[in-house]
């Protein structure tokens, strides 16, 4: 399927106009109130250039922080249920880093194994991911340790990689990517053996994820979890910014006559997550919750779906108020 083309910066700018005319909403990392956030943009110029990635992940475009699942009206002896179908605009996610793009694969897996989640799928189906390879990385990045890389094509429909001579290598990877390219095929030129690696960031692998997964079963009772989680304050920042974390809560909001059921993000790091109404808590200590986070991502999920539930984007480490650096912690576990 994959074809490799080239696109100049000017043509890429022109592509934005084409996409807008075709009724596509374009979301890209851009500056808002002094912060880089994923926001609706119309031109390439609005897209923030010199940055690693926004704080929040793009998962919100398919798995919003709060979404309606159903609503109802109540009367004595009567309840009228109302199903809900989200209205979704065709959207291009522009400039997603390869790690974040790969994150969608984990979400796809959870929301579609066994039963299909129509809310996620309705949103996901409208997304076209135009990835942008990384030319810089920071101390939180570890994509290469979990099967990704600064130029990895996983999860992207089109992957753009900056070239030293200007412009981008454009790998058209999926039918969706093809459809997007076909909106303006003239803007793309055939590639000519350009070196994709030339400008890519160098991210040295710190550990090897299969090896890590193999280690976990033997470490369940190890002190390492208590030791690592000592400074963890038990908030949900890591999970909420994570492009692969999918755990959610279902909340009811109603008055006496009507109500709705909402789904919102939740985190296994929060004490409330597993707390029973009786007061019993299967994971009552922060160390147990930290261990669950690691085991779920690198053990249980990997076992069920064949790879870690982590793309090494480092968002959790950057968002953590107390610098719980995931790469560092995983490396430590790997080296036990």
């Amino acid at each position: 399927m994959a074809t490799t083309l080239k696109i100049s910066a000017a043509s890429l700018a022109a592509l934005f106009a084409v996409l807008g005319d075709a009724g596509r909403r374009i979301l890209g990392p851009a500056e808002v109130d002094g912060r880089i956030e994923l926001k609706a943009v119309r031109t390439l110029a609005e897209v923030a250039g010199d940055q690693i990635q926004p704080v929040l992940s793009a998962k919100e475009t398919a798995f919003p922080r709060v979404e309606r699942l159903l609503s109802y009206r109540m009367a004595p002896g009567k309840v009228e249920l109302q199903d809900y179908d989200p209205e979704v605009q065709p959207t291009v996610l522009f400039g997603l880093r390869p790690c974040e793009a790969a994150g969608f694969n984990s979400l796809d897996a959870v929301f579609n194994w066994d039963t299909r989640d129509k809310f996620f799928n309705a949103r996901r189906e409208q997304l076209t991911v135009v990835g942008l390879s990384c030319t810089q990385a920071d101390d939180a990045c570890f994509c290469t340790s979990v099967g990704g890389g600064p130029g990895s094509t996983k999860g992207s429909d089109i992957l753009l990689t900056p070239l030293p001579e200007g412009g981008y290598l454009a790998e058209i990877l999926t039918e969706r990517g093809e459809a997007l390219k076909d909106l303006a095929p003239a803007l793309f030129q055939p590639a000519n053996g350009e070196d994709k690696e030339a400008m890519l960031a160098k991210v040295e692998p710190s550990f090897e994820h299969q090896g890590l997964a193999a280690k976990l079963p033997g470490l369940f009772t190890s002190d390492i979890w208590a030791e690592q989680s000592l400074r963890c304050i038990g908030c949900g920042a890591c999970a909420f910014v994570c492009p692969t974390c999918v755990c959610f809560d279902i909340q009811e909001e109603a008055d006496t006559k009507q109500g709705q059921r909402l789904r919102c993000w939740d985190s296994c790091g929060l004490r409330q997550f597993t707390l029973h109404a009786s007061g019993h808590n299967p994971r009552s200590a922060q160390s147990e919750r930290w261990r669950q986070r690691i085991y779920h991502k690198f053990g249980y999920f990997a076992e069920r779906f064949g790879g870690p539930m982590c793309v090494g984007c480092g968002k959790c480490s950057r968002a953590c108020p107390v610098d719980m650096n995931l790469k560092e912690h995983l490396t430590q576990v790997y080296e036990v």
Binding site: D33, G34, R35, E37, V55, L56, R65, V66, D138, D139, A140, A226, S229, L230, R231, I233, G234, C235, G236, A237, A239, F240, V241, D249, Q251, E253, L262, C264, W265, S267, L270, Q272, A285, Q286, S287, S317, A319, P321, V322, D323, N325, E328
Partner: protein, 267 residues
């Protein structure tokens, strides 16, 4: 920094304390909390101008309390938190040995709340100049502009509770936010839920906030939420003349009253 390491080493070696809560080098120049339990590992401790986080939240955590008597490397925020925790009877007068480190690296041992109080009387700290400026700027806006400002900011809130978790005064085992009978505040991070949550937080910290700004630093999406609690605290200070984290014996401002409390809006 050497003075601090030496002191920590000495305290641990002599068994005066079982843990030193301090800062260590973290990712890319960040200073993060660390818990030194042996004299040999005192070398991990660092002290410089990047040590801005408030470590006092750990003093009430069961995981840390388990270690035994703590010493804590203290900037002004930590010292104020310590006093307020004593005032709220979360810590005994002499339960913590504070190690106040001056700019020049000199370490002062403050073994009791009284010592902390005396030390703070000389160097009180409080709201930073930058925060004071932001707060004054907001106060000058029109009411509608302030509403718009806060709505725009709070729209970013994802209810990760990093603000709550990082706050040394948010030690409650069962927070109002977690009560669901009745469900006082909506759980989802939609517009209403976010406004309600942050109002509750500010109100519940009025008269208790030590103005360390930790919640604002903790916020992953960069909302200056500390301005809310700091403002509520200022309001208490202005109207009732008392300030959290300045005295070891301090009645909760909103749990007390004076018959002649002055206001001008009740009809």
């Amino acid at each position: 920094m050497e003075a601090l390491r030496t002191k920590a080493k000495e305290l641990l070696a002599q068994g005066e304390v079982q843990v030193v809560i301090g800062y260590e080098a973290g990712t890319a120049g960040v200073r993060r909390p660390c818990f030194v339990r042996t004299a040999e590992s005192a070398i991990r401790l660092v002290w410089d101008t990047n040590c801005i986080g408030n470590l006092a939240g750990y003093l009430t955590r069961p995981e840390i309390k388990r270690f035994g008597k703590p010493a804590i490397v203290a900037n002004n925020a930590v010292l104020r938190s310590l006093l307020q925790l004593v005032a709220e009877r979360q810590l005994q007068q002499d339960a913590v040995l504070a190690l106040a480190v001056a700019q020049d690296g000199v370490v002062t041992e403050l073994p009791t709340a009284q010592a902390v109080e005396d030390y703070l009387a000389i160097s009180p700290g409080g709201l930073s100049a930058a925060d004071r400026e932001k707060m004054e700027h907001l106060a000058q806006l029109s009411r509608e502009e302030r509403w718009t400002f806060w709505q725009r900011e709070l729209e970013r809130c994802i209810k990760c509770y990093a603000c709550r978790s990082s706050c040394p005064m948010c030690y409650c085992g069962h927070c109002t936010m977690d009560c669901n009978r009745p469900q006082w505040v909506s759980v989802p991070s939609h517009a209403l839920g976010n406004l309600e949550y942050h109002t509750v937080r500010a109100m519940h910290l009025a008269g208790r906030c030590v103005q360390c700004g930790e919640c604002g630093r903790a916020c992953p999406v960069g909302i200056p939420i500390h301005l809310l609690t700091c403002y509520a605290e200022e309001s208490v200070h202005r109207q009732f003349g008392q300030q959290a984290g300045t005295r070891a014996k301090l009645d909760y401002a909103l749990g007390a009253f004076r018959p002649d409390d002055k206001e001008s809006f009740i009809r």
